[in-house]
Amino acid sequence: MIRVNQVSFTYPNGTEALRDVSINIQDGEFLAVMGQNGAGKTTLVKLFNGLLKPSSGEVLVDNVDTKETSVAKLARSVGFVFQNPDSQLFCETVEEEISFALRNFGFDDLKVKKRVTWALNLLGLTEYRATSPFMLSGGERKRVALASVLAWDPKVVVMDEPTIGQDHRQKERLRQFIIQLNSQGKTVVIVTHDVEFVAECAPRIILMSSGRIVADGTGKEILTDPTTLTKASIVVPQITQIFLGLSDLGFPSDVIDLLSAKEIISERLISR
């Protein structure tokens, strides 16, 4: 779906944000991009919808070079939810906000209405339909931004820090929702620091540090490797910390999620 070939990117002020990065994202894959602040995560995903074009190397989306097409065209297949919802919201009501892109893509009124209702419902925003986005809390605005992108049903959904400002229940909803999107064949890319969230989703993970990809693997491989995680300024998930701490008692060291933890520990406590 997305191919990044030996890409480097330097901002006009001279900051080298990406250095020789290559990655392939398959159709229908679920990928988490993790790493420290300023590692180049956001820069990398901004290449996916053409917001940024590589300084050298190439980015192909559905076999089209992002340099040869426009952001407007790419946006139809790659939806992007910004880190800071205030960079994205501008309409007077939540409904208008979500309708805006749909109208631009040429959906008819009936379809717009239907999709808006669907998106509001999905993200628990129905009661705010006629409210100004700027009257909402930070977490709610974040969901409006997400709703406005999901409404046009892009093939790839890129979310930059989707869990920021979300409470536990909304995160759980978001998690189930991402897994559902992904199981319907959508490609989902999230940029996040939220190790606990990632531990429960178990996607493919790439770790970034100083503009480079320093690790690429499954959730279990990456999140149970303290040395590599520390390099990228990420901490080991709480559940894994427990299992690493008990490995001398014969516990496995590759456990990342709550459910497996409960099963393994219960078994040990019962058989005692």
């Binding site: 602040n37 930070g138 709480q238 910390q241």
Partner: protein, 282 residues
């Protein structure tokens, strides 16, 4: 001694139909590290805006009940005076930063106090050092990453050394090690400089261990108020969707089926690891 005391505090934004903060009565003691949490939209940020007088002086609207901060009646005290006592780090750092260099941004509050230049320089150095951003001092805040901006905003408040520091999700954009670093900085300000800290946070897995007081809000009301171990192990907290640390959840699930039991509910992985080790070696 109470440093913040509210009684029946109720606030409604100008065009809103229902109050964002509804009958809140809480006491925060001097020197406490309090964590304020609850579902998004529950009124946490609104309550923080009351503490430094942005409500009612800037936002207007309808404020009822009693509100005393550092012995001052907030309704009667102008924002510029409250700012000497209460520092607020906003949720979105972009709303707070405006100068052309990090150094100037951090110095801004001190300049307004009329602090002598060499003293100001010392305070700014200290604040930049403590927040781990000395190397960014000449950069423009708007060119920094979200996490770096968050640290600049925090440095601006550290420089002012207020008695009370209110941080509204100060680490949301930070990577976990960066967040831990900030929590440790705030903890040090709290323990060594006796600064009272009020931290709004969803990520209790990281923050719970630093708190001595947890307040949970839901729909404008305070529904739980007490020590972390009691609040986080209560059924109510789980039901409204407070982000209880995973180790605490794991403990609860094992305790429910009678496999583990302790009076000291674990809040960190070290605590539960020690507990499990004890039981298994028994």
């Amino acid at each position: 001694m109470a440093i913040i005391r509210t009684k029946g505090l109720t606030y409604t934004y100008p065009v809103a139909t229902k109050p964002a903060v509804d009958g809140v009565s809480i006491t925060i003691e001097k020197g406490e590290f309090a964590v304020l949490t609850g579902p998004s939209g529950c009124g946490k940020t609104t309550l923080c805006r009351c503490f430094n007088g942005l409500i009612p002086h800037f936002y207007r609207g309808d404020l009822r009940g009693q509100l005393q901060v550092t012995g001052l009646d907030v309704k009667e005290t102008p924002i510029h005076e409250l700012a000497l006592h209460v520092g607020l780090v906003f949720q979105n750092p972009e709303n707070q930063l405006f100068a052309l260099s990090v150094e100037k941004d951090v110095a801004f509050g001190l300049e307004n106090l009329g602090m002598p230049r060499n003293e100001m320089q010392k305070q700014v150095d200290y604040a930049l050092e403590t927040s781990g951003i000395s190397h960014l001092r000449l950069k423009a805040p708007h060119e920094l990453s979200g996490g770096q901006q968050q640290r600049v905003a925090i440095a601006g408040i550290i420089a002012m050394q207020p008695e009370v520091m209110v941080l509204d999700e100060p680490t949301s954009f930070l990577d976990p090690l960066g967040a831990e670093k900030i929590f440790k900085v705030v903890r040090a300000l709290n323990q060594e400089h006796h600064m009272t800290v009020i931290l709004v946070e969803h990520r209790l897995d990281l923050a719970a261990r630093y708190a001595d007081h947890v307040i949970v809000m839901d729909r404008g009301k305070v529904i739980l108020d007490g020590e972390p171990k009691d609040v986080l192990s209560s059924e109510k907290a789980r039901l409204i969707g407070v982000g209880i640390p995973k180790v605490t959840l794991l403990y609860q699930q094992l305790a429910e089926v009678g496999l583990l039991k302790t009076n000291e509910v674990p809040l960190s992985s070290e605590e539960i690891t020690a507990l499990l080790r004890g039981v298994l070696n028994d």
